[in-house]
């Protein structure tokens, strides 16, 4: 044992060791490319898709219209009071992450997390401009000179261009994309648009270009949660130490067959790692399970003529089985277990519930606010009048005639602020504009003998679907004079 480090001299700040990861090809590298391409394509293309909603609504397929408080997603239109759909989707996303994590470990981190995708992209820019691992290391050590400055400026410009292209696309989800693009480039767009683009470009530039794995290791809370959710049955990138140890070079191993493991200590798994960790030290918080070390190790194993899979996706439990000489279980069998089934049940249940709500929701709505000051009015003929403010919602993309009727309250009739008492009736019809809420002040008059009671307003769309909505309110009357 060496002497314990002198803690009084230890600095609280350790300088970052830059990561110059090696280029590697392999099946997981190709999966990463495919996912990156898919994510970026979806991200860039989505706001430009059109969706015809008729003359009364925007024709952008996916649009978060904050100004008008509407959220459009293809055929679905969400109003503010239906925000539970968005909450439901967020819950599904959360449980989905639990499901994926318990099944295949930190797959989100390794393949789909934006921080990973952009870091990956920027590392490829590094290779393109500065060369591969050794060249980059040399350049990093080299003193500043015109050549190094020029290379750095070119590289950072490309970082900036990528950041702008990806950060800038975000704003198109919040306004009509073609219009906004014209306005953006002609300098007439809303300052919020420029501020958003500037912010997202800056954060992408800094987080993806410079902070990289430090975001994953020090800033992101997710690995802490994720590592708590993986267990010995979760698939994760694993170094099979029972097979690899003790390590020895190929030459040394040839001299003493059987004395050494398969690992030739070539360090390729460390060289390709984007977060700069050594997977052979076991599962650790810095591992984003991108599996590039698997690609690297498999290639080396092939080159030295040993079986692949020294580093592989495996569960800890299955590793133990394999160590004991039993054949590994198939991955699909590993995934299908009570914990993942439970997560899947909750996830699918939430999804089905949302779908059910979406399918059965009514595009007609009614809210009623009763006048409380004064609660009632005595009319000259002795009858009693109450006033209500009705808000009739038409959540469809066309104007609809709505019948508003009194349900209950015998003998009562109503009129509105745009008609006279002479026109009072049990029901009336108003056309509510497309995708709008119409306020209507309604006066309900009932005979003097009417007792204080609850009744309802019913609104019914006058179209083939005849959707209805009901809202219950109280009818007040003067209290009996006390003797």
């Amino acid at each position: 044992m060496s002497t314990p480090p002198d803690i009084t001299q230890a600095s609280l700040y350790a300088k970052r060791e830059p990561v110059f990861n090696h280029r590697i090809d392999g099946r997981f590298r190709r999966i990463k490319w495919a996912i990156m391409a898919l994510c970026l394509a979806v991200y860039w293309v989505t706001p430009w898709l059109r969706w015809n909603r008729g003359p009364y609504a925007p024709d952008q397929a996916v649009l978060v219209d904050l100004g008008h408080r509407r959220f459009y997603m293809f055929g679905i239109e969400i109003w503010p009071h239906e925000f539970y759909f968005v909450a439901g989707l967020l819950i599904m996303a959360g449980i989905g992450l639990f499901l994926v994590t318990s099944a295949v470990g930190r797959a989100w981190c390794g393949y789909a997390c934006p921080q990973t995708v952009w870091t990956d992209l920027f590392q490829h820019v590094d290779r393109l401009i500065d060369g591969d691992r050794n060249a980059r290391f040399k350049l990093y050590k080299a003193p500043w000179g015109p050549a190094k400055i020029a290379r750095r400026l070119v590289k950072w410009s490309i970082y900036l261009a990528i950041s702008f292209a990806t950060g800038g696309a975000w704003i198109y989800y919040f306004a009509d994309a073609p219009t906004l693009q014209r306005a953006f480039w002609s300098g007439t767009a809303d300052p919020v648009a420029y501020a958003t683009v500037a912010t997202l470009t800056a954060t992408t530039f800094v987080l993806g270009g410079f902070m990289r794995e430090q975001v994953c290791i020090y800033m992101c809370p997710w690995p802490r949660i994720q590592t708590a959710m993986t267990d010995e049955k979760s698939l994760t990138v694993t170094y099979k130490d029972f097979r690899g140890e003790p390590r020895a070079s190929v030459k040394k191993a040839q001299k003493a067959p059987g004395a050494f493991g398969d690992c030739i200590d070539c360090n390729q798994c460390v060289a390709v790692c984007p977060t700069g960790i050594d997977i052979r030290q076991g599962p650790q918080v810095g591992c984003i399970t991108c599996a590039l070390c698997i690609d690297a190790c498999d290639r080396v194993m092939k080159d030295v003529g040993r079986p692949r899979g020294l580093i592989d996706y495996a569960t800890l439990e299955d590793s133990e089985r394999e160590k004991a000489g039993q054949p590994p279980t198939r991955h699909l069998r590993l995934i299908w277990r009570p914990r993942t089934i439970a997560y899947f049940g909750v996830w699918a249940g939430s999804g089905l519930a949302l779908l059910f709500l979406l399918g059965t929701r009514v595009h007609t709505g009614l809210t009623v606010a009763k006048d409380r000051n004064p609660p009632y009015i005595l009319m000259s003929d002795g009858s009693v009048r109450n006033a209500y403010t009705l808000r009739v919602r038409n959540m469809q993309g066309r104007p609809r005639a709505m019948e508003i009727a009194i349900e209950g309250l015998p003998g009562a009739a109503m009129w509105t602020d745009d008609t006279a008492r002479a026109d009072a009736a049990r029901s009336l019809v108003r056309t509510v504009p497309a995708d709008a809420t119409q306020a209507l002040r309604v006066y309900v008059v009932a005979p003097a003998s009417t007792a204080k009671q609850d009744f309802a307003f019913r609104v019914q769309a006058q179209d083939e679907a005849r959707e209805t909505a009901l809202s219950e309110v109280t009818f007040d009357k003067p209290q009996e004079a006390r003797p």
Partner: protein, 304 residues
């Protein structure tokens, strides 16, 4: 007491941290001298400089009668004035349109009508709630503006006139002037007669038995203004005595009191106190409370 001072411990180094102490000790507890970081000091100095500059350019120091003005000439009243002017400029178009429009025309312009009602609601809250109540429901002696009973008429133009000239306002030629004699205190009717008339008045809405004496007295003394059937007259502002609404109370005692020494309400003439557009807005708001009447269409001239 174990307090020590002075040179014996000043500048001593603390054993555990090797930090200088400030030189005080209390019951064995010493304070370490940890000076503020330099950046903190500079921020502090910068704040002082900022504060001095602030005192120069903005009003800051209270003097005997006012305060220092500051070189920018900024005042919170000036800010308010600016905001008010901006609000007025934003409303200017609506206000101009309302100023030009006869109030009878207002219902034909729903947008303007909405603006007028909203503006009237705000003006009502400042000028009218003192008597008519926050919900315009009035109280005894102060008319309820929500109902359909109007002393002088409930169409837009009539309400506007009432607002402009008020009720019983001296010095205004066009003010609403209703006069009910003091039948009791001026000795026009004997108490027994007042009692009989009150019974008759209550009988008009079924609240008392009819009596011949009261009917006769009513026809002689009251029908001039209230009409032979007690239906009232908007020309004189005489209330309808047959309906369910009693401005000054509908009990026997209250009616007797009203005949004997009538209470007659007043309302300020708002012309000159409020601008014509605000008065128009108030009329629109009062009309919108649910009891507003249609503007009567003028009767066609008789054909010769």
């Amino acid at each position: 007491m174990a307090e020590k001072h002075g040179a014996d411990i000043k500048g001593r180094l603390d054993k555990a941290t090797q930090t200088e102490t400030v030189g005080h000790e209390w019951d064995g507890i010493e304070e370490l001298n940890t000076p503020l970081p330099r950046w903190w000091l500079w921020t502090f100095y910068a704040c002082i400089v900022f504060a001095l500059g602030y005192c120069v350019v903005y009003p800051a120091w209270p003097m005997l009668s006012s305060a220092t003005q500051g070189t920018l000439g900024w005042t919170s009243r000036g800010e308010l004035d600016k905001d008010m002017k901006a609000a007025a400029a934003a409303r200017a178009k609506t206000v101009a349109a309302l100023a030009d429009m006869p109030i009878d025309e207002l219902p034909k312009h729903p947008e303007l009508m909405r603006a007028a009602v909203a503006g009237g609601a705000a003006a009502f809250r400042i000028n009218c709630v003192q008597c008519h109540g926050a919900g315009a429901a009035g109280s005894k002696g102060f008319p309820n503006l929500n109902d359909d009973d109007w002393l002088w008429g409930g169409d837009l133009a009539t309400i506007e006139t009432t607002l402009l000239h008020g009720i019983r306002q001296p010095g205004d030629e066009a003010t609403r002037m209703s006069v009910m004699p003091n039948f009791g205190s001026d000795g026009l009717l004997a108490p027994a007669q007042i009692d009989a008339v009150a019974d008759h008045v209550l009988s008009l809405s079924g609240k008392a038995r009819r009596n011949a004496e009261g009917a006769k007295l009513f026809a002689d003394n009251c029908a001039v203004c209230h009409g032979p059937a007690g239906k009232g007259s908007r020309q004189f502002g005489a209330p309808d005595l047959t309906d369910a609404i009693w401005l000054d109370g509908g009990s026997k005692a209250e009616v007797v009191a009203q005949i004997g020494k009538p209470h007659m309400g007043v309302m300020p003439a708002w012309n000159g106190r409020l601008d014509p557009v605000t008065i128009k807005m108030l009329a629109a708001y009062v009309h919108s409370l649910g009891g507003g009447e249609q503007t009567p269409t003028p009767e066609p001239a008789p054909q010769p």
